[in-house]
Symmetry: C2
Subunit: 108 residues, 2 copies
Amino acid sequence: MGTNNPEILPGTLDLLILKSLQRGKMHGYGIAQHLKSVSDEVLQVGESSLYPALQRLLLNGWVEAEWGASENNRRARYYTLTAFGRKQLQRERAEFDRMVLAIHKVLA
Amino acid sequence: MGTNNPEILPGTLDLLILKSLQRGKMHGYGIAQHLKSVSDEVLQVGESSLYPALQRLLLNGWVEAEWGASENNRRARYYTLTAFGRKQLQRERAEFDRMVLAIHKVLA
DNA sequence: CTTCCTCCATCGAAAGACGATGGGAACCAA
DNA sequence: TTGGTTCCCATCGTCTTTCGATGGAGGAAG
C-alpha cells in the first residue's frame, strides 16, 4: 500500500548501465553489484529491471553481448559498449544534466 | 521512431508541482507556465501529464482545490498545499537529492 | 465573425520499473 | 551426499506514469 519508494530514478537506468560499461565488459549481475556499491547502497536495481533494460540496449545497438565464464567460473553473459553506445551515453548524460539543472531552478 | 525525449524527468512531476504550490495558490495552467519559465523553457509539462498528476495529489490529500476566477477573469481551479502536502514536499525533495547524489557517484 | 489564447479535462497507447517466480551451476558445510 | 547459499540467467504480469490526440467553453482581439 501507499508508500512508493522506487529504488532508482525512473528514466535513468539506461544511463547508469551505459556508464558502468564504460569501465569495461561486465555481466548483468556485476552491473547491479557495481551500481549498488558505488552508490553506497542507494541504487538497488533488481534483476527484473536490469535484464529488460539490457535487452533494450542490445536492440538499440548500444551494447553487444557474448557468453563467457565469470571470475568464479560460472556461465555469464558479458556486455560491451559499442561506438553507438558511447554516443548514446554522452547524449543521455547531457540530457540528464539538463533536466537536473532545470529542476534545481524550480527547487531553488 | 526512436528518439525519446521526455519533456520532464519521469518521477519528478509531483515534486515540481508541490514546490510550485509552495509559493501560493495556483491553477493548473499557471503551474505549467511557471515551470516552463522558471526552467528556461526546459520543463514543458503538457496538460495531459499535469491534470492526472493534480488528481493524484488531490487523492493523496497533498493539495486542496477550489474554483475561482483567474486574473483574466476566466473560470479556474485553484490548488493549495495542505499540511500533508508540505510534509510530502520535504520527503520528495530529500529523496530526489538522495537519488541525484547517488547517480553522480556513478557518473563521476 | 473568426481566430487566438486561456483554462478545463479525458482517453488510449506506450514505456518503464518491480515483485514473484523459475532454473542451473558452483561452492561449502554437516 | 545432502542441503543451503551465492552467483547468474531470464520472463511474466501488474502497476504507475507520461504523453499525443482530442474536445470544450469563454474572453480578447482583429
